[in-house]
Amino acid sequence: MLELTQVSKVFFPGSPDEKVALAGIDLALKPGDFVTIIGSNGAGKSTLMNMISGVLTPDVGEVRIDGNPVHQLPEYKRSRWIGRVFQDPMAGTAPNMTIEENLAIAYARNKRRGLGFGVTRAKRRFFQEQLGRLNLRLENRLKAKVGQLSGGERQALSLLMATFTQPQILLLDEHTAALDPARAELVTRLTESIVREMKLTTLMVTHNMEQAIRLGNRLIMMDKGRIILEVGEDRKKELTVERLLREFESISGHKMADDRVVLG
């Protein structure tokens, strides 16, 4: 489904600020895989996400989606296959447009945008049905501007918008990190149920170790632009936060340096 071979990226090459963001990443996801990614600050997790979504292109290496080489395509072309939720709740929605208009934009993700009306009666019914899954009563507020919603509501809407068109790949970039614990829990629960129901192939970056262990069927740990640990389906079930931290220290030779890390 998603295949990365020897993907590498260097920022500011040759300058004093040179930074190896990704050093030969190999990663393959089967359809339905749900991979959680953890790692310390600057490990390359976000760069990896940007590399897959097309915000960045690799210096060397290949990215394939469904067998198609996509690493030279810009972000707006790769979005045919990819749904994405950002960390910032403000990033995934247009605040001055209504809920239904935002959904219409997401609905057109893999279609040609022409002069047909964005919101039709049939689409509105579909949007209401989809919003109902969030249990936030947003289905009664289709004409409210998204800027009036709370951060948690906006993030739940972003999640719905990224997923309801059944993307081949779902990228979640610390999408609960900016929310308070209750909202984060709500969005996590929604994520779990939507990914399960739609059988989405998912990559999720998180700072929450407990969440990384609880969600998904695979876990990878990154450090300094490399994948230093891969935990498969069977071993993941027995994993604990303590064991994960110990593992990290023994492989990387330093402590998990992350001011935001949540042990769970």
Partner: protein, 309 residues
């Protein structure tokens, strides 16, 4: 003086209707795309020049007006290309295009002033018919524009100004939506220039100077009076704002002390007031609210301490 002020209003409303195409264009770039586009000063003249030259060469005035719209679109798309593909700052790409258009407009009209005396224009020369024509023309453009903003393409254009990162992640190419938006905007501006040239009976090399500020004034006045609850209200506000602006100017010019050449400074002052006052008011409101809240919290804390003793 009062009589002459009232007498000047119908003419002001007519001008407002014709300039309304321009304020719709400015609304599109300034508010929707968040792209302060200065091409307007040039493309307004382009519209007037294209229409005047084609009419004096015996073309149908409606064909000439349509061509003026297209010429404006072409000018706008160059600005859009400079900004998106050339990576030139938005303001600077507009200024560059505006300067280039000074020469291009003179090339189009060959002389600085093209008279349209006795030429056939879109106007009938009959008062009530011209009123109907202007109102219908504005309404048609307004409705078409509102409908466009509700299409899939229109939504992606609006999202480009609202949250470019989001719309890219949903597969729209923001370079293309920006170019399209700036092109359409300048098409509307040129359309306005074409109507104005036909209404005043000539096109003039300097007729576009200061248009961007007038457009901004109209957009801001309209928002202050009508608001921007939804896209339909916001476009209507741009039209009403332009009519009000024209009325304000017409009345101001009836005050004996003011002279015609003061028009641009009056416009600048209106825009400055409209930009500064809301920000200052918001700042003061917040300050007052914060003070009140602090006092409340202090009082509550004091009460708790008092109760505990």
């Amino acid at each position: 003086m009062l009589a002459s002020m009232i007498h000047s209003i119908p003419g002001a409303v007519q001008l407002g209707l014709l300039y309304a195409f321009m304020s719709l264009g400015v609304y599109m770039t300034y508010r929707i795309l968040d792209f302060p586009d200065l091409t307007v000063d040039g493309s307004f003249t382009t519209g007037g020049a294209v229409a005047a030259v084609m009419i004096t060469h015996g073309q149908s005035p409606w064909v000439a007006t349509a061509c003026a719209f297209l010429a404006g679109c072409a000018a706008g798309s160059v600005t859009g290309l400079l900004h998106t593909k050339g990576k030139i700052n938005a303001l600077l790409s507009g200024i560059l295009m505006m300067i280039a258009l000074y020469s291009i407009n003179l090339r189009i009209s060959r002389v600085p002033n093209v008279p349209l005396i006795n030429a056939e224009t879109v106007f009938f020369g009959v008062e009530w018919k011209d009123w109907v024509l202007m109102i219908v023309a504005v309404l048609i453009v307004l409705v078409l524009l509102d409908m466009f903003f509700l299409t899939d393409l229109g939504l992606s254009l609006r999202a480009t100004g609202d949250n470019p990162r989001m719309i890219r992640s949903f597969g729209a190419h923001t370079d293309n939506t920006k170019i399209l938006g700036v092109a359409l905007s300048n098409g509307l501006v040129a359309l306005s220039g074409a109507f104005i040239a036909q209404q005043q009976g000539y096109s003039d090399q300097s007729m576009g100077i200061g248009m961007i500020v007038i457009g901004l004034a109209a957009v801001i006045i309209g928002e202050a009076i009508i608001g921007a609850r939804s896209i339909i209200w916001a476009t209507l506000a741009a039209v009403v704002g332009m009519i009000l602006y024209r009325i304000i100017i017409a009345i101001a010019l009836q005050i004996p002390w003011f002279q015609a050449q003061d028009l641009k400074v009056i416009t600048a002052v209106i825009v400055i007031i409209a930009l500064v006052v809301p920000t200052a008011r918001r700042h003061w409101k917040q300050k007052i609210a914060a003070r009140r809240r602090t006092a409340e919290l202090a009082a509550a804390a004091g009460a708790r301490r008092g109760g505990g003793q």
